[in-house]
């Protein structure tokens, strides 16, 4: 019993950072409608800044001052991000802004590497709170007790701010209809900046507060994201008490998990999330998300048409180029183009979900990596012939997608998106923690294709044929009755249901189909590399695909494919620089600001402007 209570107290103390970061994320989303993926990065800066300040400022006062200052510094960083990166893109289509925050993640990663170096920093202990207190005979660190007191105070202060002040009323009003708040005389721009500063400061505070219990390292930005999304989803978007309760549930559970189920700590939180969502689809205190009713920006999507003869011509020329590549190119360029083609199919499969289906999946890597792992596991454990493993992999990925889709499609909008990310993380944790089967961090190696496919040139043609066929199939399905029904469900769920279309069934099939195609790409990938590691399932891999689809242009399939080609080429070019992430991040931000329609969309606009392409009749 004593041990039990001690465990709970530790969990409550651990909830502190999670709560602060989750609060900030949901506050920012509420008002700006931007899922700030860089929120983990702000948390990381908070930790690093706090660490540095603690080295400089002496004593207990210095320690606490360092924490508060870290929050303030991160708040200022948030203001800079908001003004420099986000303000120029508020008028861009809603989800496009996400990509800008991906860019920010990359920039901050390299800046942190430059300033604080690659080594992990161990957090200093809090002066005056170094020992333990015995509660019911169990030792509880004094710092945990401090956190137990501080967190509710911050939560209360936030609650007061949001419910009892005019500022809070304005923030809540803007969460619902920001255009209207502006029309009533409130300066939206500063409201946005203010909210972004507050949300960032909370993340920074969270980062600094956890220092004595952990430290600062370069992976913490991505590591906090999944738990934070889980907390936001369980608690309910925009709910302070929800975030608090969810953070406590997750943290307490985690403490018990470490004791009783050390092999499945990561998986546990996702299980809880799934259970909660089964009972309360919008979280403990959440409400159904009705996004974008007012103040939506961007032009309506245009009807799709068969490809023009010019477009067909370009595609044919490109394909002929690829067919003859082995005659002229080096084997290095063959490997590169093979990679690129695989990535194009992966991106096209995400585009199908995102563009045609309007289903924003933040966790598409689960199916790519899933396909790769299924093939690798079959080869490693059952000596399945490569051909059979290769065929089974996409089916396995498709089935995984169906299962995940079945749960996620109970929700819509940002809840759906966050849930897909959480599930992808679940798959990742399973692979990562189940080392005895999956090899864990060491991955699975020696996964080579069958003899007849071994030569690089043969495998290149194999990939070329399958990728192109896959992309063409995705395109064809868009034009089929099924593809139209999928768009119908996206355009007007209400009308589709009212005219006999089972929208959830349609979307689930689409989800499974996209997972299948992602799995096919993954299978091609694993046999081209000969190995697979958990990072193929990581959030970063899902983000790669999202960046590509958005940068290319969501509105046309060509966007996804062109984006993938462009991205691979860029990565190849930049990787030779030491701080390639910084360059990549800046470039992404630049493209987001300069070409808000995506690369293909902006090219199309440009062509229309100079008269190469006919403008849609009005």
């Amino acid at each position: 019993m004593e041990f039990f209570i001690a465990q709970i107290l530790t969990g409550l103390a651990n909830a502190s950072s999670l709560f602060l970061v989750a609060c900030g994320l949901s506050l920012i989303f509420g008002v700006t409608r931007i899922v700030n993926f860089a929120h983990g990065s702000l948390y990381m800066i908070g930790a690093y800044t706090g660490y540095t300040l603690m080295q400089v400022l002496p004593g207990a006062i210095g320690f606490w001052a360092a924490i508060i200052l870290a929050g303030l510094v991160v708040g200022i960083v948030g203001v800079l991000i908001e003004i420099l990166v986000l303000r120029p893109v508020y008028r861009a289509p809603e989800l496009f802004q996400l990509v800008a925050t991906f860019g920010v993640i990359l920039v901050i990663q390299d800046l942190a590497l430059m300033i604080w170096g690659p080594q992990d920093l161990l957090g200093p202990r809090a002066p005056g709170l170094r020992g333990v207190v015995r509660i019911l005979g169990e030792p509880i660190p004094k710092y945990d007790i401090a956190l137990l007191i501080i967190t509710p105070i911050i939560a209360l202060a936030l609650w007061y701010l949001m419910t009892q002040t005019r500022m809070g009323v304005l923030v809540r009003a803007a969460t619902q209809d920001r255009e209207m708040v502006g029309a009533l005389g409130v300066n939206q721009a500063w409201l946005f900046t203010g909210v972004f500063a507050l949300g960032s400061a909370l993340a920074g505070l969270g980062g600094a507060l956890q220092l004595p219990k952990g430290g600062a390292d370069l992976l913490m930005d991505f590591n906090i994201l999944a738990p934070v999304f889980v907390v936001v989803v369980i608690g309910g978007m925009g709910s302070l008490p929800g975030a608090y309760l969810a953070a406590i549930i997750i943290s307490v559970l985690n403490v018990f998990g470490v004791t009783y189920l050390p092999q499945s700590t990561l998986v546990l939180m996702f299980v809880v999330m799934i259970v909660v969502l089964m009972i309360r689809p919008y979280g403990l205190f959440g409400r159904e998300e009705v996004a974008g009713e007012h103040g939506q920006v961007g032009e309506p999507e245009r009807p799709i048409k068969p490809a023009s003869s010019v477009m067909r011509g370009i595609v044919v020329v490109l394909l002929i180029g690829f067919v003859f590549l082995p005659l002229g190119g080096s084997s290095y360029s063959l490997v590169f183009v093979t990679d690129m083609l695989i990535f194009c199919l992966f991106a096209a499969s995400l585009h199908f979900l995102l563009g045609t289906g309007g289903l924003v999946s933040f966790g598409h890597a689960a199916y790519f990596g899933g396909g790769a792992y299924i093939a690798a596991l079959l080869i490693t454990y059952s000596e399945t012939p490569m051909e059979i493993a290769f065929v089974l992999a996409p089916f396995g990925a498709g089935l995984t997608a169906l299962a995940i889709g079945w749960v996620c499609l109970r929700l819509t909008g940002v809840y759906f998106a966050m849930l897909t990310l959480a599930f992808a993380q679940l798959v990742w944790s399973l692979v990562f923690q189940w080392g005895s089967v999956t090899g864990g961090d060491d991955g699975l190696v020696n996964i080579w294709p069958a003899e007849w496919l071994k030569p690089t040139v043969t495998y290149f043609y194999f990939v070329l044929i399958l990728s192109v066929a896959g992309i063409l199939l995705l395109r064809h399905v868009q034009h089929s009755p099924f593809g139209f029904a999928l768009r119908a469900a996206r355009d007007s769920h209400r009308q589709a249901e009212a005219t006999g279309i089972n929208t959830r069934q349609i979307q689930l099939i689409a989800f499974g189909f996209a997972g299948f195609m992602g799995g096919l790409a993954g299978a091609m990938f694993v046999f081209s590399k000969g190995s697979v590691f958990p990072n193929e399932l990581e959030i970063a891999r899902s983000f790669d695909a999202l960046i590509v689809v958005f940068l290319g242009g969501v509105k046309t399939l060509a966007g996804g494919v062109v984006g993938a080609g462009f991205f691979k080429g860029l990565e190849e070019t930049l990787l030779r620089f030491e701080y390639w992430r910084l360059l990549m991040g800046l470039l992404i931000i630049f493209i987001v600001i300069a070409a808000p329609e995506g690369i293909v969309g902006s090219l199309r606009k440009g062509a229309e402007r100079i008269g190469l392409r006919r403008v849609e009749n009005q």
């Binding site: 009323v169 009003a173 619902q176 209809d177 009533l184 005389g185 300066n187």
Partner: protein
Amino acid sequence: MSISGEGVFLQMNQARNMLEVRSINSFYGKAHVLRDLSFEAPTGEVIALLGRNGAGKSTTMKSVMQIVRTQSGDVFFKGQSITKLLPHKIAKLGLGYVPEDRRIFTDLTVIENLIVGQQPERIDAVKWTQEMLFDLFPNLAERRNNRGKALSGGEQQMLTIARTLMGNPSFLLLDEPSEGVAPIIVEQMAKVITQLKSEGLTILLSEQNLHFAQLVADRVVIIESGKQKFYGTLQEMNERPEIRNAYLAA
């Protein structure tokens, strides 16, 4: 019904026209919605903006507020050009915008909705308090602590007006206040508008219900495809049945 426009604030050294719209052009994406639209709103009058749906009535309202940016032309409020300003600056000058579709904040209580609309006092306009508004809209008084979503359509419509009045505007833009509400509420709305006018407010009202417009308007602007087709007093319009037949009635 008075057409003279002698509001109580007329003596306060103001231009005869509170609002002047001069050949504005507005676009939604590529669609050219307003085409060289011009009209004036004399101080203290109620001006009804009539025309079929899609004619550009709501866009006119939003263009005055710069929620839709005008591409060319100019809008003068009390003699000052406002086309370069952002919506919140325009609201602060004393233009109150009441949108169509009752865009209240449904998660906020009635009182909180009013707090969002609150603006500092203005020398040339009535200073509204929550209590004054509850006198004007007695239904809202009973429901002051209810969330917006618990209100009926009619109550929500009243709340949108009350919320905007909290900004102490001297000019009110009312976008289709009678849409989708019961006839008995429309009648109440007409009374409110008449009362607001007697308090000195100038009102631009977009409307589909001709009967309602007849009850409250001093002057009429008819637009069709974003172009002005008629501008004159209510009486002038009623004397020209061909105008009504062409653009309004069946």
